[in-house]
């Protein structure tokens, strides 16, 4: 079953043709990794799934993007409803200048949840899911900035999980973290797969190999190759993919 499906997606930044007709489908409860050299369009493509590109002036998108069967660029889609359904974790940990608790509760509150007990329960569950609960349970009222970088990133993951999205987008989530925090986050991705469809952008090929079930290789705005991770890394069909994974460019 497909969670995210795109058909012939083109994206333009003004005159620049950034994505050139991308058609692919991402399976439910699987981890799909996007790899490719910087500027290949993998992050841009990811940001189409929760319409984050809307925030940039002069962006034009063509083609269809379906999430759980709903065309998200149809006019009657409310973009904040979509974003509630599609969570996102960013490159650098970006907690709000609020307490740890309020960071996680934020998504619930902005989406109209007022029930205190429910929020408390959900915050606890999300922090547990993000493997952060034991470290922060005694200082939920403390500022999120007091956490280490790795903890902050897991907080951001908990924050995304609290609104129970069905798809979780991760845009190079470990690029600002030390190796230990990276390992923890990758472990977490493994566990989260049970409940979520995860799409992760990374330029670390080892990471793609470690965490993903499927891998897509992007180059100059095109989807070059998309296959099971094992297949793509051991038996690439396209010469460009082979060059990239063997380190000839990138």
């Amino acid at each position: 079953m497909n969670s995210v499906e795109t058909k012939d997606v083109h994206l333009y930044y003004g005159d620049f043709h950034a994505l050139k007709g991308i058609t692919m489908a991402m399976k439910k409860n699987q981890v799909t990794a996007f790899i490719g050299p910087s500027g290949c369009g993998k992050s841009t493509y990811l940001r189409c799934f929760n319409r984050m590109n809307d925030l940039i002036d002069g962006v034009k998108i063509e083609g269809d993007i379906l999430i759980d069967g709903v065309d998200i660029y149809k006019t009657n889609i409310q973009v904040d409803d979509l974003r509630k359904h599609v969570g996102m974790v960013f490159q650098k940990p970006n907690p709000f200048p609020k307490s740890i608790f309020e960071n996680v509760a934020y998504g619930l509150r902005v989406n109209g949840t007022k029930d205190k007990a429910f929020i408390e329960e959900r915050v606890e569950r999300s922090l547990k899911q993000a493997a952060l609960w034991d470290e922060v349970k005694d200082k939920l009222k403390k500022s999120a900035f007091e956490l280490s970088g790795g903890q902050q990133q897991r907080l951001c993951i908990a924050r995304a999980l609290a609104i129970e999205p069905s798809v979780l987008l991760m845009d190079e989530p470990t690029s600002a973290l030390d190796p230990l925090s990276t390992a923890k986050t990758e472990e977490l991705i493994h566990q989260l797969k049970e409940n979520y469809t995860i799409v992760i952008v990374t330029h670390n090929m080892q990471q793609a190999g470690r965490v993903s079930d499927y891998t897509a290789f992007f180059y100059l705005g095109e989807l070059v190759e998309y296959a099971k991770t094992k297949t793509l890394f051991t038996n690439p069909k396209d010469q460009r993919t082979q060059n990239y994974i063997t380190g000839r460019f990138g």
Partner: protein, 401 residues
């Protein structure tokens, strides 16, 4: 040799540049020095009007009075000596114009040549008299004793409610009404400017599309440059009559007029400082909020405003500072009555306006002149406190990052 001159030139330039840097710092110290040198003089001068004498019968036990008591006596609010520590007897007031009630012109003399003698007799005859007359008519063998007026104390100065710097026989130099007037007008100004300014800043920083923004920004910047006297003039010909009509007041020159004009003047500062602060909110933080399903407005009030709150407070404080120090516009529209304000619909007088209006008429070195400098000191300290607060707030902001 050439190398040597080269190095010399380099050293000279460095010296010149260092000196320039020093000049600015010295200026501030000089300002403080001269301001306080003149201003503190007020505490060592007698508040008796210059060249005048206040005297009583030699047996009167009252030796010293406060300036405020003298005024109360001459206003006939105090009528008995026991109220100022003397015997239980009514106070008989005498000032030099009353002399004809006691003596004929012949007795005084055509050129007032006998006047000192007559005054001497009069004070000696009347045990309950409080006499006030010019020093030049003080007899050499004067039999009464001169009343010393207590020097103005810091408490009298700051907490006194009466500001009559030229009144006879004793000047009243209480600045409480001026301080409160300044704060009152500034408070009104900030109440007007803050909501408008913040709304505009939010609109410009987060809502307006770039085209609209590029038109509005220069207009607001331009208004920061309009001279205060022009704002004052506009207030005088438009806002003052408008307030008079709308509220049916006898005069339109009120605290409200001052607050409106100052509020308008503070707008550009508040808008640009708080807009800059909001624009420093990291993009990542805004995106995180949007990605969680918050809409633009929720992102603004739940993330952007809390993030830039110290910048916004700086903007508010700077706006207050601008209002407190503003002179000409306030002078022109507030009516300048030195009373403690109770509503926004009565005239008030601020510290800067007082200095501007009165310094030209105050004789140099006199107590009035020094009182105006002391007001300058108060104003300087108020704005210094504001600057230090701003420094403190922005230092704290850096710490939090």
């Amino acid at each position: 040799m050439k190398r040597y001159f080269h190095n010399l030139g380099e050293k000279l330039i460095e010296g010149l540049i260092t000196i320039s840097g020093t000049v600015t710092s010295i200026t501030v110290l000089l300002i403080v020095f001269f301001l306080f040198k003149e201003g503190l003089g007020i505490f060592s001068q007698s508040p008796v009007a210059e060249g005048s004498v206040i005297a009583v019968h030699q047996n009167n036990p009252v030796k010293e009075l406060k300036a405020a008591e003298v005024k109360e006596i001459f206003d006939q609010n105090i009528t008995n000596w026991k109220e100022v520590g003397g015997p239980n007897a009514p106070i008989k007031l005498f000032s030099i114009d009353d002399i004809t009630d006691y003596y004929t012109e012949e007795q005084i003399g055509a050129n007032f040549e006998h006047l000192p003698q007559r005054l001497n007799e009069l004070v000696a005859q009347e045990p309950n008299m409080l006499a006030f007359f010019p020093e030049e008519y003080l007899a050499k063998d004067f039999k009464g004793h001169r009343i010393e007026l207590a020097n103005v104390s810091l408490g009298d100065f700051l907490l006194g409610r009466q500001w009559y710097p030229t009144i006879q026989p004793a000047v009243q130099l209480g600045v409480l009404s001026l301080i409160l007037g300044t704060l009152w007008v500034s408070l009104g100004a900030i109440l007007i400017a803050l909501p408008l300014g913040l709304a505009s800043a939010i609109y410009l920083a987060e809502i307006a599309n770039p085209k609209v923004r590029n038109i509005l920004k220069p207009v607001i910047e331009l208004l920061a440059g309009i001279p205060s006297v022009v704002y004052g003039f506009f207030g005088l010909v438009v806002i003052v009559p408008l307030i008079q009509d709308v509220f049916g007041l006898p005069v339109g020159e009120t605290a409200l007029a001052g607050s409106i004009v100052l509020g308008i003047m503070a707008l550009p500062t508040i808008i640009s400082v708080s807009e800059d602060a909001m624009r420093t909110t990291p993009r990542a933080m805004k995106e995180a909020s949007l990605a969680l399903g918050a809409n633009k407005w929720q992102t603004i009030y739940k993330v952007i405003i809390p993030y830039s709150i110290s910048g916004i407070s700086t903007a508010a404080i700077l706006g207050i500072g601008r209002a407190i120090g503003e002179t000409m516009a306030v002078l022109m529209v507030t009516g300048n009555a030195s009373v403690i304000p109770h509503t926004f619909l009565e005239p008030v007088r601020t510290i800067p306006a007082t200095i501007a209006a009165e310094l030209g008429e105050a004789p140099q070195g006199g107590i009035h002149y020094q009182a105006l400098f002391a007001l300058g000191c108060i104003l300087f300290l108020m704005t210094l406190a504001i600057n230090l607060t701003v420094d403190f707030v922005s230092a704290k902001k850096k710490e939090n990052r």
